[in-house]
């Protein structure tokens, strides 16, 4: 019965007020061990105040080969940006 330890992704909040950011991954048998290992591997120098771990297999990622269909339509929608709207110079702070 030989079983490899599953892979986990580690997210760390570096300080309150900031979001959790992906820091890397590691192997662990369960969530408790993943948290403990994440603390040792990714926060040896006060890099964080909170850690999330999630087993890598639960992450669904978009495929870069479909980036065209996914992301290009947004490029033509310039009216979503404030600079699209022409306003007189006298108007300050808008």
């Amino acid at each position: 019965m030989k079983k490899d330890w599953p892979l986990w992704e580690v997210f760390v909040r570096s300080k309150n007020g900031l979001e959790h950011r992906h820091f890397g991954s590691l192997h662990a048998t369960d969530a408790v061990m993943a948290l403990e290992n994440a603390r040792d591997v990714y926060t040896r120098r006060n890099e964080g105040v909170s850690i999330w771990v999630v087993e890598s297999k639960y992450i669904t990622a978009s495929n870069p080969s479909e980036n065209g269909e996914l992301f290009e339509p947004a490029k033509s929608k310039v009216y979503r940006h404030p600079t699209f709207y022409k306003l007189p110079d006298e108007l300050k702070h808008m």
């Binding site: 019965m1 330890w5 991954s25 590691l26 048998t29 369960d30 591997v41 040896r44």
Partner: protein, 318 residues
């Protein structure tokens, strides 16, 4: 995929590299780029892991508590650096177990420097100063490597590594300002580690089989010879501050080139060690393999426990 489609993808890939775009794990990449990255990143990871062995022996022998906590922290960092790097390599589709197997079977290499013995306390100082110093030069250049996960691991490693070199230099500084015997111990360590440290940058460019392609793909950002020269120019003044002599009679400042000229490296020795005939190759691999094998039951037990807990939870819910 047809041949034309692959050619098209290769062109897009080369153009992205030329624009200095990073390549991420799920992006299309030539098979050879994937393999080169796996080779380079896993060997780098193996070097971190094997690199703990010469120092581990000195943790219990450190001359003071201050030195002991520093050395412990340094060795723990090296374990961490190995883990960052293994994770980066895993994003390319190789498993952790496969990489360990390659290390243990001798198929994958690690830095030859760790096949030299660390026989005195001055060696701990010299390893930090020269070996970590050389590693930092290599790694700073790799922070801008083209594969995203590798570059990110390098940035983190570089941030952590500068303490390693400083703690080593401080050990030597203390010895060099101590008794005659202590200074002689520092000199002896420099004599033994200087040439192997220069070999850490690998064969000269003309004889480095992977350099050209690695430079083209921006896997490597500087050549072996460039990095070696940078290391020498940076290290000579540091030896002067210590007041010990670099064991190279041909070492001298070249005013015209604004760099140091240096003597011939013994490449026969380098290849001997790479091929497994260095002073400690066998000892290092034996230590590594036995740690892995003797830890086997612990890994299995932890996995079995996790599965049991998981099943119990499901049953409780059901």
């Amino acid at each position: 995929m047809t041949e034309n489609e692959i050619k098209n993808l290769e062109e897009i890939f080369e153009a992205r590299i030329a624009r200095d775009e990073k390549i991420e794990p799920k992006d299309w990449m030539p098979e050879k780029y994937r393999k080169s990255n796996i080779r380079q990143i896993s060997q780098h990871a193996h070097s971190e892991v094997v690199g703990m062995l010469p120092e581990g022996n000195w943790i219990t022998r450190a001359p003071s508590l201050r030195r002991k906590v520093a050395l412990l922290a340094k060795v723990q960092d090296e374990a961490g650096h190995g883990l960052y790097l293994y994770s980066a390599a895993e994003t390319l589709g190789i498993s952790r177990e496969e990489m360990y197997e390659q290390l243990h079977s001798g198929k994958a290499k690690y830095s030859s420097i760790f096949n030299y013995p660390a026989v005195t306390w001055a060696d701990m100082g010299t390893i930090g100063w020269l070996v970590d110093g050389a590693a930092i030069i290599n790694q700073v250049a790799l922070c801008s490597t083209s594969f995203g996960p590798y570059a990110r691991a390098m940035v983190r490693i570089c941030k952590e590594e500068s303490f390693h070199q400083r703690q080593g230099y401080e050990i030597l500084l203390t010895l060099c300002r101590g008794t005659q015997e202590q200074k002689a111990m520092a000199q002896d360590a420099l004599n033994r580690w200087w040439w192997p440290s220069l070999m850490m940058f690998g064969p000269i460019d003309a004889e480095s089989p992977n350099t050209e392609q690695s430079m083209k793909w921006k896997l490597k950002r500087k050549t072996n010879d460039e990095l070696r020269q940078q290391f020498i120019d940076q290290t000579v003044p540091q030896a002067e501050i210590l007041g010990i002599t670099i064991p190279d009679p041909d070492l001298k400042w070249n005013e015209e080139k604004k760099q140091y000229d240096f003597g011939e490296i013994d490449w026969d020795e380098f290849w001997q060690v790479v091929k497994g005939h260095g002073p400690c190759n066998k000892e290092r691999m034996d230590a590594r393999v036995s740690a892995w094998e003797e830890g086997n039951w612990v890994r299995d037990a932890a996995m079995a426990y996790a599965e049991k807990q998981h099943d119990k939870k499901l049953k409780d819910v059901g």
